[in-house]
């Protein structure tokens, strides 16, 4: 049972990975990575979270007019706030 529902650590609680599906968010902090910057995933950017794939899959975001999938380990480090 413990395995099934993993505790979300307080560090990643406010990340885009666990945020509610189908909503707009504003990024409050994002890892300093070239790819993310290039794709427009930077502080204060608006993103639309579509959903998170089950079983540790990636999160699907819409940035501008384009869909971007981001793996769990990075998505957990992208913090967001309400719009």
């Amino acid at each position: 049972m413990k395995e099934g529902k993993k505790e979300i650590s307080p560090d990643t609680e406010n990340s885009i990975y666990y945020a509610r599906d189908n909503s707009q968010y504003v990024i409050t902090s994002a890892p300093d990575m070239g790819v993310l910057k290039g794709l427009g995933i930077i502080k204060d950017a608006r993103v639309h979270k579509v959903f998170t794939f089950k079983m540790g899959g990636p999160v699907l975001l819409r940035v501008g007019s384009r869909e971007i999938a981001i793996g769990k380990d990075i998505a957990e480090k992208i913090m967001v706030g309400g719009k």
Partner: protein, 591 residues
């Protein structure tokens, strides 16, 4: 400067005069422009990162020749990756102009790139590409206004259909002649204190001003594109796509082979050469080497034309379609969680699928992996257990005499080995594997002309690369068998081949030829009379897991180093003999 090993080649470009750069975000169609403008064909696909190193060609504007360089796509010009470092390096080698390709379906980010590029003060022409897809999405773009904002000409194009190319060349010619009149190309980088966020804001603002959405209703392809990303109905669709692909390749290949090629070769081509050669050459060993049971003119046609070519052709028919349609990145997103368990990330799936065609382009393509650890894992997995299409074709023929179940079993075995290899390497190689970050391209119906061109290019590459090793292995096979030399060698390998693997002694040829090409480890088994199902499966297992061909050995040495190549070659041979032998020994206990 650039953290790149091709320093010699780069130095060469620094000295070159009259360079025009082709730049832009990944997957905006740069390579299509390059092919059209230079006549040099490079493989392009509908996902990011097809161009992993640069290509150069000649472009004629008016009566002057320029060198056009297809720079790898980058999202920004910040030198955060090898590809970006290469791009920046080229900007500093005094190009006369830049063609910056913009994706009109994703204006914000492309305008942001344009703004970064503008800072280099090099004459630019913008190609607003994929304007047809933007229209399909209901967008209307004011190119005049965009040109004003960017301070350079903007030409609407549909590169795959060749639309707008003449206008683009004309604009390029004018921009170059104007800059020659004004200054002597003293391009300098005007450093500005604008930060990342300000550039983004400006780009967003420009994009919003020039682009209007006149129709927000999604078309069928866009709806399908989105639903393919959701587990339901995405996963069933993905499985259907995979099954259909296998069906087309295996079923279609079998039909081509049995219905057309085999009768043609056996009843017409081979008898023709037999008659012809027996008229000029006296009977004896030499004639046997040419037209005997294993003669060059017999197995040369039989193996290459019936065993391999139909499958190679159909594989690229299917794979090129998957590439150009934008289905592959959707598969990598859907299967990311499974790939993560294997120690890599979803994006690697495209590279591994490519390996089912041929390991050589797959290993080169693994450059898109962001860490060395991931590259090593992918390359090793491909070498250990991914059969190339030539070999798959031969395996299909081998198992067709017994039961299709053997083919399914063989693929299950290959998956098991893949998981084991990636599991072990993930643990022993130091370093990390970066998680997936992937942009989902638009779902497209591939353009007929571009698709056929790419297919022809791939078949030509295959024939050129495979011809010499294939002929070499056929020559060796013919000489070994028809001169009786085989019997001498077989004595030494008897304990392994017959004792441990339980195969007839003719299988020795397979082991020898398998070093040169993968399918040649299977083809000789087809010629052995009275092979049992177990022997076929054991022989197939050895072939599947055996060391990849000579070309792969070469590419591993080039992309990594000789140590890696030797380690992979050695461990695949040991693994192949071990696993196949165990299958034989265990199966015999029960039989």
């Amino acid at each position: 400067m650039a953290g790149c090993h091709e320093t010699d080649e780069e130095a060469k470009n620094f000295e070159k005069q009259d360079i025009i750069l082709l730049m832009g975000n990944p997957n905006v169609g740069k390579s299509v422009f390059f092919s059209d403008m230079t006549g040099i064909h490079v493989v392009s696909s509908n996902y990011a990162g097809t161009t992993v190193s640069y290509t150069e060609g000649t472009i004629k504007l008016g009566d002057k020749n320029y060198t056009l360089i297809d720079v790898p796509g980058t999202y920004s010009l910040e030198a955060t990756s090898d590809a970006e470092a290469v791009a920046i390096n080229f900007l500093k080698c005094n190009p006369v102009a830049v063609i910056c390709v913009l994706d009109s379906t994703n204006l914000e980010r492309n305008v942001k790139f344009a703004l970064e590029l503008k800072k280099y003060n090099i004459p630019i022409v913008y190609a607003l590409n994929m304007i047809d897809v933007a229209k399909r999405h209901g967008y209307e773009i004011n190119t005049g206004l965009l040109a004003e904002e960017l301070g350079a000409p903007v030409i609407s194009t549909v590169a795959v259909k060749g639309e707008g190319l003449d206008e683009l060349k004309e604009a390029l010619r004018r921009v170059i002649s104007r800059s020659e009149r004004i200054s002597e190309g003293n391009a300098s980088y005007s450093a500005s204190c604008e930060n990342e966020k300000a550039v983004w804001n400006k780009a967003r603002e420009i994009a919003a001003r020039v682009c209007k959405q006149v129709n927000s209703e999604l078309g069928f392809l866009d709806k399908l594109g989105s639903s393919m990303l959701k587990p339901w109905p995405g996963i069933p669709i993905a499985l259907l796509v995979i099954l259909m692909s296998i069906f087309v390749i295996v079923g279609g290949g079998k039909i081509l082979q049995d219905g057309i090629l085999l009768p043609l070769v056996n009843e017409t081509v081979v008898p023709f050469f037999r008659n012809l050669l027996s008229m000029v050459i006296p009977e004896g060993i030499f004639l046997n080497v040419l037209t005997g049971e294993y003669g060059i003119f017999v197995i040369g046609f039989e193996w290459i034309f019936t065993l391999i070519l139909p499958y190679v052709f159909l594989f690229y028919v299917v794979f090129s379609f998957l590439e150009d349609s934008g289905i592959l990145p959707r598969l990598s997103v859907l299967f990311d969680s499974i790939m993560r368990r294997l120690g890599v990330q979803g994006g690697s799936m495209i590279t591994i699928l490519m390996g089912y065609g041929c390991a050589v382009p797959a290993i080169i393509g693994s450059r898109t992996a962001t860490t060395r650890k991931e590259r090593l894992i992918i390359s090793a997995v491909i070498c250990f257990a991914v059969p190339c299409i030539s070999q798959t074709g031969a395996l299909i023929s081998l198992f067709a005499n017994f039961s299709p179940l053997l083919l399914v079993l063989m693929f299950l075995l290959s998956f098991a080995i893949m998981m084991t290899v990636s599991g072990i390497l993930g643990r022993i190689i130091k370093g990390k594997v970066d998680p997936l970050v992937i942009e989902i391209p638009n779902l497209l119906i591939p353009n007929g002309k571009a698709y056929v061109k790419k297919l022809m290019l791939r078949m030509r590459h295959f024939l050129m690369d495979a011809e010499v090793p294939m002929l070499l292995s056929i020559l060796i096979a013919a000489v070994l068998k028809e001169t009786g030399l085989l019997n001498y060698i077989a004595v030494y390998l008897e304990p392994v081949v017959s004792g441990w693997l339980g195969l007839p002694k003719e299988a020795v040829i397979a082991l020898i030829l398998g070093i040169i090409r993968r399918e040649m480890a299977v083809a000789p088994l087809l010629e052995i009379e009275g092979l049992t199902a177990l022997q076929a499966f054991v022989g197939g297992t050895v072939a599947l897991l055996y060391l990849p061909c000579l070309s792969v050995f070469g590419i591993l040495t080039r992309e990594f180093n000789a140590k890696v190549a030797l380690a992979i070659a050695g461990s695949t041979v040991i693994n192949a003999l071990l696993v196949a032998g165990l299958i034989n020994q265990v199966a015999r206990l029960f039989m």
